[in-house]
């Protein structure tokens, strides 16, 4: 977060020195893009907040804190749904491991969490288009299965 802020700050300063007019164009363009997705973003965030509040980590751990194919499949789908920031996701993953989740389950959960986003799909469609967004998520899901299985083999 601090890194991004300082990069943006330096870029902004350099840009201002180089050309005020171009800087203004750039800022306006960026903020317009943000404004276009803002209502959607707000809606998604609010929806996810309700969902995260309704499903506490402990009950999630009960469902996927185990071995075998069923926790694996559930982990894949829960990971795909959610849009959990890494700051929450890794402690949660550590909790799952303490509850007895296998490497495959953990890898499935983390990888789908990062690469597949059903809740952010409307946003992604807006930026990448329907076909590309759906295909990207579908392939990322398949890739997550591959990653999870490979991890289970490597870290046995």
């Amino acid at each position: 977060m601090e890194i991004l802020l300082s990069i943006t700050g330096v870029a902004l300063l350099a840009s201002l020195i180089a050309s005020r007019r171009k800087t203004l164009t750039g800022i306006i363009r960026g903020l317009k893009m943000l404004w276009m997705i803002f209502p959607m973003l707000l809606g998604i965030i609010a929806g996810v907040s309700i969902l995260l509040a309704a499903v506490p980590p402990a009950s999630l751990a009960r469902v996927i804190g185990g071995n075998g194919p069923l926790p694996f499949v559930i982990a894949l789908f829960v990971g795909s749904l959610a849009l959990i920031p890494g700051v929450v996701a890794f402690p949660l993953a550590a909790l799952l491991r303490d509850q007895g989740a296998s490497t495959a389950v953990l890898a499935a959960f983390i990888t789908t969490l990062m690469m597949v986003g059903i809740f952010t799909l409307p946003l992604e469609i807006r930026f990448l288009g329907r076909r590309v967004a759906l295909l990207r998520n579908g392939l990322a899901f398949v890739g997550s299965v591959v990653v999870a299985v490979a991890m289970a083999v490597i870290l046995r």
Binding site: G26, L31, M36, L41, I44, A94, R131, M151
Partner: protein, 227 residues
């Protein structure tokens, strides 16, 4: 979940009629508000619901779900409020300053395998949630990056952010982190190739993002001479 939003996918020759782009026939404020509500209103339903839950718990107490919704929402909003403006301003500056030919040469359709390294670096060094990567991906694409490289960037961004990796090591151990990284990189690079293959040739990302005047308004003289 959402209505298709044709105004976003409009191709350039047609004047865009989306938000923030006043049309020639400049409609009245009332019709504009109505149109905004019709197109975007659905997104306020969860917002109102979350706020209602939170207010309920704040007013009457003893309603755990509402309190937790409120604190989660607050956490998200804090992240979004600082993070997104910085991100989007950076994207806007990138759009204005970086010459198309540079992007095209290094990560365009004709670029070599070194492009993969560039995209991995770019994606790894950033931080933030996946939805922050989409505007960057679109900006890269508009500057001439190939679809495949855009997908590699998205993969790197989503799975290997450096700040997140340190975090992951702390919680899950370096063995897990290292194995996950080593397995994930080839997988999403392959996926990017597959994705480019599976899309019909000539597929383009929607370009009707504001201020897109792709080749016209914003181009440097230097760029024009190159194209």
């Amino acid at each position: 979940m959402s209505e298709p939003t044709p105004e976003i996918t409009v191709v350039m020759p047609v004047p865009p009629q989306g938000l923030g782009t006043p049309t020639a026939s400049s409609p009245s404020a009332r019709t504009r508000i109505l149109r905004f509500v019709r197109r975007q209103g659905i997104w306020f339903v969860p917002v109102v619901a979350a706020l209602a839950l939170w207010v309920w718990s704040a007013a009457f107490g003893g309603f755990d779900l509402g309190a937790r919704t409120g604190s989660t929402l607050y956490g998200f909003l804090k992240e979004v409020a600082i993070f997104l403006p910085a991100m989007f301003i950076l994207v806007g500056l990138f759009d204005v300053w970086v010459p198309r030919r540079i992007v095209e040469r290094h990560v365009g359709t004709a670029a070599g395998p070194l492009a993969i390294v560039w995209m991995l670096l770019l994606g790894t060094l950033q931080a933030g949630p996946l939805y922050a990567a989409f505007p960057v991906a679109v900006a890269l694409y508009r500057k001439g990056a190939s679809l495949r490289n855009v997908f590699i960037y998205l993969g790197a961004f989503s799975a290997l952010k450096l700040p997140m990796l340190t975090f992951e090591v702390g919680f899950l151990g370096w063995r897990f982190s290292l194995a996950r990284t080593l397995v994930t990189v080839p997988v999403f690079v392959l996926l990017a190739y597959a994705l480019e293959r599976l899309l019909p040739p000539g597929t383009r990302l929607p370009e009707a993002i504001p201020g897109k005047g792709l080749e016209k308004s914003t181009v440097d003289p230097a760029e024009v001479s190159h194209e």
